[in-house]
Symmetry: C2
Subunit: 163 residues, 2 copies
């Protein structure tokens, strides 16, 4: 699938405002509603747009604590890596799990309602998990920037689908 200038505009606008109406979107990209909607559907079907999500304020909703946990495992065999991923996938407070290169095997983003609850998650679900060698955690003091997704230059960017 090839992505042209208009598709990039659509992606950029929907990344910024996922509930923009189709007629608004069409107007901004210089199309009428039907072809615009077809492009959006095509981007969804191709997997370029994975979904749409409300962006909630964690702190206001009872989750003021965000922690990054750097996890090292004893074994880096694929089945042990997968087992760890499966393990944290089942912990709702673990919001992200990325496998890294280097000394640290995984970085996790964890949210919690308070420090006590975080400590509990750590000591009952993370540290004692199979194959875990070490867990180093850092509390988030404040978040200066938090944009999901990717930068989308108005024009002349990369982006062709299918790697």
């Amino acid at each position: 699938m090839a992505i042209d200038r208009i598709d990039r505009q659509i992606l950029s606008l929907l990344q910024d405002n996922g509930r923009m109406t189709n007629v608004d979107l069409a107007e901004r990209v210089g199309l009428t509603a039907p072809p615009c909607l077809r492009r959006v559907r095509a981007l969804e079907d191709a997997g370029a747009i994975r979904g749409y999500h409300a962006d909630l304020d964690a702190a206001r909703l009872g989750y003021p604590i965000t922690v990054f946990a750097m996890v090292s495992l004893r074994s880096q065999a694929e089945r042990d890596l997968s087992a760890f991923e499966d393990h944290v996938a089942a912990i709702p407070e673990v919001r992200e799990c990325h496998m890294l290169n280097g000394e640290i095997d995984f970085i996790l983003k964890i949210v919690a309602t308070d420090l006590k609850s975080f400590q509990e998650i750590l000591t009952t679900h993370l540290t004692p998990a199979p194959n875990v060698a070490s867990v180093k955690t850092s509390l988030t003091i404040r978040t200066a920037k938090s944009r999901s997704g990717i930068p989308i230059p108005a024009d002349g960017s990369p982006a062709g689908i299918g790697h």
Copy 2:
């Protein structure tokens, strides 16, 4: 603002599908459309819902590289911390910037089109930035879990707005 069971359902559903229509949403939470819409607007006005965003597949759109950068500064004076935050806010490839406690001052999530381009961002915008003492980077091999926001238990959770 007090959040009840129905509000939590609304938040959970919109976090999962930000483009769900109001009538769908109303039906699922057991309301008719108008009161449901009033609740959604109230949650938006209270800041519980900050916005709605399309979730794009970075890799399919030409950004296969995600890197975490751990940054330490020479000075942790507030004005120096803010200056660094302002500096990275202007770099579009830096998607997240969190201030941490401990030895590492900031963790950044950076996306890039390729390794060469990442290296260029690092050496021209990050390492030589004022007050930067050290930058350690780790490439993301794969992302096993990536959910924005917070866990929302169907019932009996915390969550009242205004801390």
